[in-house]
């Protein structure tokens, strides 16, 4: 299980510069333009949307202003009737007729009064009143014609506080304005049954004389309704305040309950001051009284000085671009994931065969020409792998040729050098007559050189045989300590020459699986080297230990040892350490290579530990015989 996870981890997150480059490149190519395009298009959409929002808001406020104005105009124009009379007064009957008609035509009139203007007609006093509540409708009972209407009391200072009396308008604002010819539209009045306002207009006769004032109390419920019915997106709303900043109506339920003084809010106060707000200015994006960011626009109802404001929360107003932004974010995320997977897949497709090639060339480089690079990509990479395989085949052939040549050469050399060796021995032993001291000395030098040549030829043959697989090894249980003692005996003269002593700390009782001759060859080589490269008066210690069914034999010397950088090359063909000590010694550079081959062929391993100037220890292991 963990190995699968490891493989997955390696597949997706393993270190590969190529994949990183590929991923970064693909992301740059795919994501950067997408994000740039997204940012630009969101920006563009936002700007465009801001225009749309402003336009919709302005359209809405304009529409509401128009509706409010037409509502007001209709009523004010209706109040402003002229009478087809040149008289300075109209009769109560006519007043009743006119006012009743008005009340019938306009359900939003709560109450309408006729107030006399001319001094001779009771200046400033209500002469007729019709109220929706009949209890408060009233007309004068005592007038010039002696008219009398039901349910009415005359105006007099004595019954000032009688609800059914006619009122004195002399000091009322609406009267004071209208009697001099101005239309009066009062502030919004708040009552328990809804907002209303007072309006008054002059009443003229045919001579254009102001003979009276029509004063009315008007329900604003139609305005409230037409504002409440407005819609602006999902969350946008519109509200109307009077000129003191009190909310008359709003399409937002929260504002309705609020009844709030909004004069302190920038947009309300500026609109009340007469500044049109278009929704396009930077100041038109602000936080509303609930702290929500909104786009606002507004304008004034000129007739009344009321402000009509539309506010649209940004999250709703800009919902289309928010949606697009989210889509771009989700899409980019998905694309990034896809790119990551695709890049991983593509990179692994490319990198895996390359890694295979790298591994393969390393193995072939080590001389294992049989290794086959296996790439199944069915493309140029596979061709590359195939030609690598072809190359290693050729290399193998070359190597075989070279081995064959060495074998043949060594084989052919062996006979003459052996012959030379024989004849030299005989000459030196005096078989062919006496020789002078000088001659013997020279011949000995020739013999030494020839011995080296013989050794070289033997070594070469052995190497060639080994490489050609002709090296014959017969494994059987062997007493290794006996071999050690034999080698000690054989090499003792060499050691004694330089006063080097052998130590065999723990002769092994275990039998090892080995070829007796080859084992001895290994020991002679290693112990011989230990003598060769030891200091005078040095020591050679041979010991054993058992490790996992293998017997490990250690041969330690007190020589100069190896430098760390030399250690990996010790067992290479023809390699010799370059230093004072080795230069003094002869050698073919094949010894350790042959030893390694032999140990490995017997199923063991060889390795070395060393400290420069202190000594070296060679270890080899052989399987313990059962």
């Amino acid at each position: 299980m963990t190995s699968i996870l490891k493989e997955i981890n390696e597949y997706f997150f393993g270190q590969s510069r190529f994949r990183l480059k590929l991923t970064v490149f693909l992301m740059a190519v795919a994501l950067v333009p997408l994000l740039l395009l997204g940012v630009v298009s969101i920006y563009a959409i936002n700007i465009n949307r801001r225009f749309e929002v402003a336009a919709l808001e302005t359209q809405l406020t304009n529409q509401k202003i128009k509706q409010i104005e037409s509502f007001l105009n209709d009523i004010i124009e209706a109040l402003r009737f002229k009478v087809a009379s040149q008289e300075p007064r109209i009769s109560l009957g006519e007043q009743n007729f006119l006012l009743s008609n008005l009340m019938n035509a306009f359900p939003s009139l709560e109450e309408v009064s006729f107030v006399a203007v001319l001094p001779e007609n009771n200046y400033g006093k209500e002469t007729f009143r019709i109220s929706r509540d009949k209890l408060f409708s009233c007309g004068v009972i005592k007038d010039a014609e002696g008219e009398k209407l039901e349910n009415c009391l005359s105006w007099s200072p004595d019954n000032l506080d009688d609800p059914q009396s006619l009122r004195n308008f002399q000091l009322a604002k609406e009267f004071l304005a209208a009697k001099v010819g101005k239309d009066y539209i009062g502030p919004m009045i708040k009552t328990s049954v809804g907002p209303r306002f007072i309006a008054a207009v002059p009443f003229k006769n045919e001579k254009d004389e102001i003979i009276g004032v029509i004063a009315a109390k008007i329900f604003l419920n139609p305005v409230v309704r037409l504002v409440e019915q407005s819609t602006l997106g999902l969350k946008g709303y519109v509200f109307v305040t009077d000129k003191d900043g009190s909310v008359i109506a709003s399409s937002a339920p929260l504002f309705k309950a609020l009844g709030y003084q909004l004069k302190k809010i920038d947009i309300v106060s500026s609109v009340l001051f007469g500044a049109k707000r278009t929704g396009l200015d930077s100041a038109d994006a602000y936080a509303n009284i609930f702290g929500d960011k909104v786009i606002g626009a507004g304008d004034i109802v000129k007739k009344t000085g009321w402000a009509v404001i539309a506010e649209w929360p940004e999250d709703d107003a800009f919902a289309p671009s928010l949606r697009l932004r989210n889509q771009i974010i989700y899409f980019s995320g998905a694309l990034a994931a896809v790119i990551f997977l695709a890049a991983t897949f593509a990179a692994n497709r490319v990198v895996r065969p390359i890694k295979e090639l790298v591994e393969g060339t390393k193995i072939i480089g080590e001389g294992k020409f049989d290794y086959k690079i296996d790439i199944k990509t069915k493309d140029e990479l596979k061709d590359l792998g195939d030609s690598f395989n072809e190359m290693s085949k050729s290399l193998k052939k070359l190597a075989e040729l070279r081995e064959e040549f060495i074998f043949v050469a060594a084989h052919e050399l062996r006979t003459p050098v052996t012959a030379i060796k024989g004849y030299l021995s005989m000459i030196l032993e005096g078989t062919v007559g006496k020789i002078s001291k000088k001659t013997a000395e020279f011949l000995k030098k020739i013999q030494a050189s020839n011995d080296r040549l013989v050794q070289l030829v033997q070594d070469l043959l052995q190497v060639a045989r080994s490489e050609a697989g002709r090296l014959k090894i017969a494994l059987s249980p062997q007493k290794i300590n006996e071999s050690v003692f034999q080698v000690f005996d054989e090499l003792r003269p060499l050691a004694d020459d330089r006063n080097i002593i052998f130590e065999y700390s723990r002769p092994a009782k275990e039998l090892v699986m080995a070829d007796n001759d080859r084992l001895k060859e290994v020991l002679i080589n290693l112990i011989g080297n230990a003598i060769k490269y030891n200091k005078n008066d040095g020591k050679i210690i041979v010991s054993h230990k058992v490790e996992n069914n293998f017997l490990v034999t250690a041969i330690a010397d007190t020589g100069i040892g190896f430098k760390p950088e030399e250690m990996p090359r010790l067992f290479e063909k023809f390699w010799r350490a370059e230093n004072e000590a080795t230069r003094a010694q002869t050698g073919t550079g094949l010894g350790l290579f042959i030893v390694k081959e032999l140990v490995e062929k017997m199923g063991g391993k060889i390795w070395v530990e060393s400290k420069w100037q202190i000594g070296a220890t060679f270890y080899f292991s052989l399987p313990i015989a059962k």
């Binding site: 990183l20 200072p157 609800p163 049954v193 109390k217 609020l258 709030y260 302190k264 609930f290």
Partner: protein, 252 residues
């Protein structure tokens, strides 16, 4: 290149995404309930910003002169309480919820220490202001002085920041109000002729306790407004309103 390896890049990307998500979710967290972030202006006593009317404590006492104790109206409370509730909601609407009235009706009729003539004096015109001041003085001693016979901790207690109003429902004649106290005859709640606008009268006198003046010309007594402080006091409360001229002296 070595330090900038792929897992690190991924971790950084994941971290950025997580941080982004956290910031995004914080930014989009909206309070469940909308709160108004602009503080409301305080409502205050007419032309006196130092006296806040944000909270008004209204104490209502049915008061009977000693010599009229026989004519106590047993259903006085049922007559008054609807008008008190109307007063409360009318006030709330007119002052945009910014001034709140808490009322308490003293449960028992209070018999005066004096006779009617002592409160009323000879002159009960213009709403009987003499009775108002005399009774207010007596109630101060009896209700709000710890030595008084009606001193009851709870009824006397008002929050220090509350504006306190005593409203006397008088078994007698009168309708008047001055700062902090008002008087209205119980007869307004009984006689049918006032039935259309008794609540308006009741509020009108209450309005005087908050300093709101009558809207008529002092000399001629001609009304300058038809709101509840003018002629509107004799109209139904449903149609009544307080003119902006008055409200703008009270924090509007």
């Amino acid at each position: 290149m070595r330090k900038f390896n792929f897992p690190t890049l991924l971790k950084v990307m994941a971290l950025i995404i997580v941080i982004g998500a956290v910031i995004y979710s914080f930014k989009n967290q909206r309070p469940d309930q909308k709160k108004i972030i602009i503080p409301a202006q305080s409502v205050h006593y007419f032309k006196d910003p130092s006296l806040s009317l944000d909270k008004i404590s209204l104490k209502i006492i049915y008061f009977i002169p000693k010599d009229r104790s026989a004519s106590i109206n047993q259903s006085w409370k049922e007559l008054i309480e609807p008008a008190v509730k109307d007063l409360q909601s009318f006030h709330k609407i007119q002052f945009d919820n910014r001034s709140v009235i808490n009322y308490e009706i003293f449960p028992d009729p209070v018999i005066g220490l004096l006779e009617a003539i002592d409160y009323d004096t000879q002159d009960t015109n213009r709403g009987n202001p003499y009775a108002l001041s005399a009774i207010t003085d007596e109630l101060q001693n009896r209700f709000f002085d710890p030595a008084g016979d009606f001193y009851k901790g709870n009824f006397a207690k008002t929050e220090s920041e509350d504006f306190s109003v005593i409203y006397i429902i008088y078994q007698g004649v009168g309708a008047s109000g001055i700062q902090g106290s008002a008087l209205l005859s119980l007869s307004y709640f009984i006689n049918a002729e006032f039935s259309g606008y008794k609540e308006s009268l009741f509020y009108h006198e209450f309005a005087h306790t908050l300093g709101m003046p009558d809207r008529f010309d002092e000399e001629s007594h001609i009304y300058t407004s038809f709101d509840i402080l003018g002629n509107g006091k004799i109209r139904p409360l449903a149609n009544a309103y307080i003119d902006f001229e008055t409200k703008k002296e009270m924090g509007f």
